[in-house]
Symmetry: C2
């Protein structure tokens, strides 16, 4: 089993694409896949980076590219009206779930992307976050507890630490993932290097479905 650490924020649609690819391939590629929720806003600020969609000349192409990628990866995407919303509470919620019930982390991440980029709805309000938790089969009283934990200093600090670790390892955007190799780890950025990932793992890549 090869370890892969996947740093992501649900504000990032390209992270959703890469997440779904890893979900499909982690078994055939024999990957020990660790989801690492971090706060992309913090990464961008710390590294002085900016989202490509914030450049007016680039935004129209990026939206077109996302629609092309949606079709290619077979992940249904639309652009929510509050595109590039602040996801700090959602990412704290994922952090709380990772700390307390990591088995639900994948399904809750997917539920958040599905609601935001699949259905175009906001994912900031407590109602939305609880609806996503329910979809991820988290019991209502547990979900309420995780939502309260988003205000807990230890969870806030944990999200900051994960973000700082990613930056210290070279992250400047999302998704960023690290593949363990015999010589250390190799960093990748984005959702469009899976042909290189497959080659590094000694596996085949014939498109986004195994």
């Amino acid at each position: 089993m090869r370890k892969v650490q996947f740093f992501y924020d649900v504000v990032s649609p390209y992270s959703w694409l890469a997440f779904e690819v890893f979900s499909r391939f982690k078994t055939p590629w024999e990957i020990d896949f660790e989801l690492c929720p971090f706060f992309l806003g913090g990464v961008m600020k710390e590294t002085d980076n900016r989202a490509p969609s914030l450049l007016p000349a680039r935004a129209p192409y990026m939206l077109k590219d996302l629609m092309r990628q949606s079709e290619y990866y077979q992940v249904p995407l639309q652009i929510p009206s509050d595109f590039l919303t602040n996801t700090i509470t959602a990412m704290r919620l994922l952090t709380a779930v990772k700390e307390n019930d990591p088995s639900k982390l994948e399904s809750l991440s997917r539920a958040l992307w599905q609601r935001h980029y699949g259905e175009g709805q906001e994912i900031s309000s407590p109602e939305s976050l609880l609806a996503c938790a329910a979809k991820a089969n988290i019991l209502p009283n547990e979900a309420k507890n995780y939502l309260e934990l988003t205000q807990d200093p230890a969870i806030k600090e944990k999200l900051k630490t994960t973000t700082a670790i990613a930056i210290s390892k070279g992250a400047f955007g999302a998704p960023t993932f690290f593949i363990q190799t015999p010589d250390g780890e190799e960093m990748f950025f984005g959702s469009d290097r899976f042909h290189l990932v497959a080659a590094m793992l000694g596996k085949k890549w014939n498109g986004p479905k195994p």
Copy 2:
């Protein structure tokens, strides 16, 4: 035959990768391939974009990615010591050659990339530009004439116009190319969307060699 207009600057290593892919595939993909030399510095300034390698947190990954791409595309790349040099004279030279002897445009473009990114040498001096012209089988007296034309107001203006056209069509970086379709034209940016290009052309993509 499907028309493809390819806007590029020899300062861009990702443009070299895409250029070589099109050179390999233009016959099997039945493409009428038009090389459109433009000035990337002008595009970046006009669109307020900046090269990813100018972001300190991003530069190390970009250099690593270029080396990975070099291996994948089988195009030998190294980073010249004057990386992101000013290529205005080289691009005017290509413009003069396109105007006067378009049959030499592809070989001169390749010779410039080969010298700069293949061998790590500068491509600003008259000596370097003439050496590239010789490699592209341009006769010495013609090469000298084209080099003089880099100071000709009409050639300067032509390069500006090509750059302005690309920007008006949506370009914000390089390479940018436009594929003619029954419904108009489709823009692509970069060297990593060939699986989508192939799908749009109704052709197959199994990696960077036909």
